[in-house]
Symmetry: C2
């Protein structure tokens, strides 16, 4: 009798608050994004994790040109981890200039036995196992890490930015990339990117001043430039950095070949603009060697192995008083939304990968007024379309 | 009509699951500690954080002797941060050999205006503000950081170890400290500490072999030793490290004066036992200089400023492939339970501070069969007694 009285009390409270919860986002006097997801408490059964994956071909909106290659698709693997009726989503994006392929990712994922784990919240244990399963395979590892974070966040009913103590108002503006092209096309693309508050310009093919001039003809927003190791003389690189600084550029990515550490350190010590490592930094072990050679690092989930690895890289880079940017590949809103959860921790974001494809299959982070905007959903914040 | 039907459905589900939730911990086939805290969803009102604090005198169970001083009490400040009816608990423990006092902590806390913050989940923002309010004051800052983590964890309905992806089964054994005393008393104390699987012996007063011999006469458990900068010759230190290694000692804390970096690096390079920095490491900025001088670091919340700082120190130490131990002061179960949330991340724990006082006012972490045991409660896991 006592028990059923207690339940009536609970029931009344539940009805009242559930009625209010439906309208929280619109109610005056309520802190947005500051309430637990109003979900019926669940009982979790003891059951193994299940990993599934399938290949997917990303269709690019525009022909994608990097120094030396062009393409219209990017191979991808979509992953899901299921447990107690909740499903976490992940992916591995596999641009052809990197080592991993759909075949290598499938082979790595087939080798894993996630069924040995019965609790998706033990992220450290599970990712230790995945990391130890084989060397390399960072995109494949990222596809597990992202799905696992999504699942664990759903089980906990919270988005990761919230559990990491981050303020969603602190997300940076994201840059939009203007690829290498003729000055006419560059002007056109720049005009189309008017909603962005920072533009990324690909340089390093000898016509750098013309490229910047074409962008500056139609836009006055801050720029960042990615040289993709394209400059050869350190003296000319320094001169260009001074000139770019006068053109409203805020940082320079990977100006010279990553093997030229002495020249890069020389440039970083003299450049008026921060010099950011991109090709030179892939995993956690690459961060310390970047210290005093670069001003900062560009972290990408597909290169480092996922959110767990990315958070460790950010912690180490900050310990070394280095700048941090977070970037992406061409990928769906799944991996981009995962990276966005970390973005309040970084100086700059380059999270436009989902905007470059025409067959996205997730709704997730959005770019509002040029700024990374985090959805108020648990996990990495995505819903399948 | 549709709405009220929906609520009936919710209500039925809620009653069923609430009935089950009460017994989850005891049910077969349910993963322990792997379900959200079954709490009625709450609506959070827009309101400022409120910080309160009061002095408290910790009564020590035994006279506490360090090289050079004895005492029977430790001054303390208890903090609370309240928001929307939830209260987070923190504390600053102030042993007299460190710089901070009840007066300095009160003065620092009085200066803070936490009312400018309306969301306890913005831990990074709030602690950036607290850290910038004045230099030093690390115990005072820890008292805010701990209360804030406790509050945020309660708002999210989860313990921090879970949100950090840690497995509570990975907690280490905690050491129990055998203070400096006559061999007879040391033998007595060691016999009393039979429940512990690792003992910490204070050395550095010239009678080291007699101290170890007194402990070994009654116990064969692994030992760690804290020299508190007591050794003067590096050659004798190395000889002692070899001897201690044969006596089942697993590591040595702060063997010589922290200023003797060259001698310490010389010892670390040769010692069969890991050499751990204690006096030499206080805050985040001290970690990098410990690299290649010590094998690892001892982190204490009162020295570094709290959980946020401690997590960054662990990340950096791991980046440098250093060992990590987490220690404490004489303090209540409040700060000890906060430190325990991190303990699955470290190699060794020395979390016995709450056992050394007779007037604890919190129930929190426990030591079961020598091992740190985390309560399945939100936040830092404490309840006022």
């Amino acid at each position: 009798m006592n028990h059923s009285n207690a339940f009536s009390g609970n029931r009344r409270r539940f009805i009242t608050t559930a009625g209010l919860a439906a309208g929280t986002a619109l109610m005056a006097g309520v802190v947005p994004g500051c309430y637990p997801v109003a979900e019926t408490p669940k009982i979790w059964k003891d059951m193994p994790l299940t990993l599934r994956f399938r290949p997917y071909e990303l269709q690019l909106r525009h022909v994608f040109t990097l120094a030396g290659s062009s393409r219209t698709t990017t191979p991808d693997i979509l992953t899901e981890i299921e447990w107690n009726g909740s499903v976490g989503y992940g992916e591995a994006s596999l641009p052809p200039y990197l080592a991993e392929t759909q075949a290598s990712v499938s082979s790595f994922l087939s080798m894993l036995d996630l069924g040995r784990f019965h609790n998706p919240l033990h992220i450290e244990n599970i990712m230790d196992y995945v990391d130890a399963a084989a060397g390399g395979n960072y995109a494949a590892k990222a596809s597990v890490d992202i799905a696992l974070h999504d699942l664990a966040g759903k089980v906990l009913g919270q988005p990761w930015y919230r559990m990491w103590g981050l303020n969603p108002a602190d997300t940076p503006s994201t840059s939009f990339t203007i690829g290498i092209d003729t000055p006419e096309v560059v002007r056109e693309k720049t005009a189309e990117a008017a909603a962005y508050h920072i533009l990324k310009v690909k340089l390093g093919r000898g016509d750098d001043r013309a490229m910047i001039g074409a962008v500056r003809a139609v836009s006055s927003v801050p720029l960042c430039v990615d040289v993709n190791q394209g400059w050869t003389s350190r003296e000319e690189a320094l001169e260009l950095c001074h000139w770019l600084s006068e053109q409203g550029v805020v940082f320079v990515e990977q100006p010279m070949e990553k093997s030229r550490r002495d020249d890069l350190a020389w440039l970083t010590a003299r450049s008026p603009l921060p010099i950011i490592a991109d090709e030179a930094v892939q995993t956690f072990d690459d961060v310390l060697p970047c210290h005093s050679v670069y001003s900062g690092i560009n972290i990408k989930l597909m290169k480092c192995g996922g959110l767990r690895a990315a958070r460790k890289m950010i912690a180490l880079a900050r310990a070394l008083y280095m700048k941090v940017m977070i970037g992406c590949m061409t990928e769906t809103s799944c991996a981009v939304s995962a990276a966005s959860q970390l973005s309040p921790l970084v100086d700059w974001a380059d999270l436009d990968g989902n905007l470059l494809i025409s067959n996205d299959i997730f709704d997730g982070m959005t770019v509002l007024d040029g700024k990374v905007t985090l959805p108020d959903r648990p996990g990495i914040g995505v819903t399948p379309l």
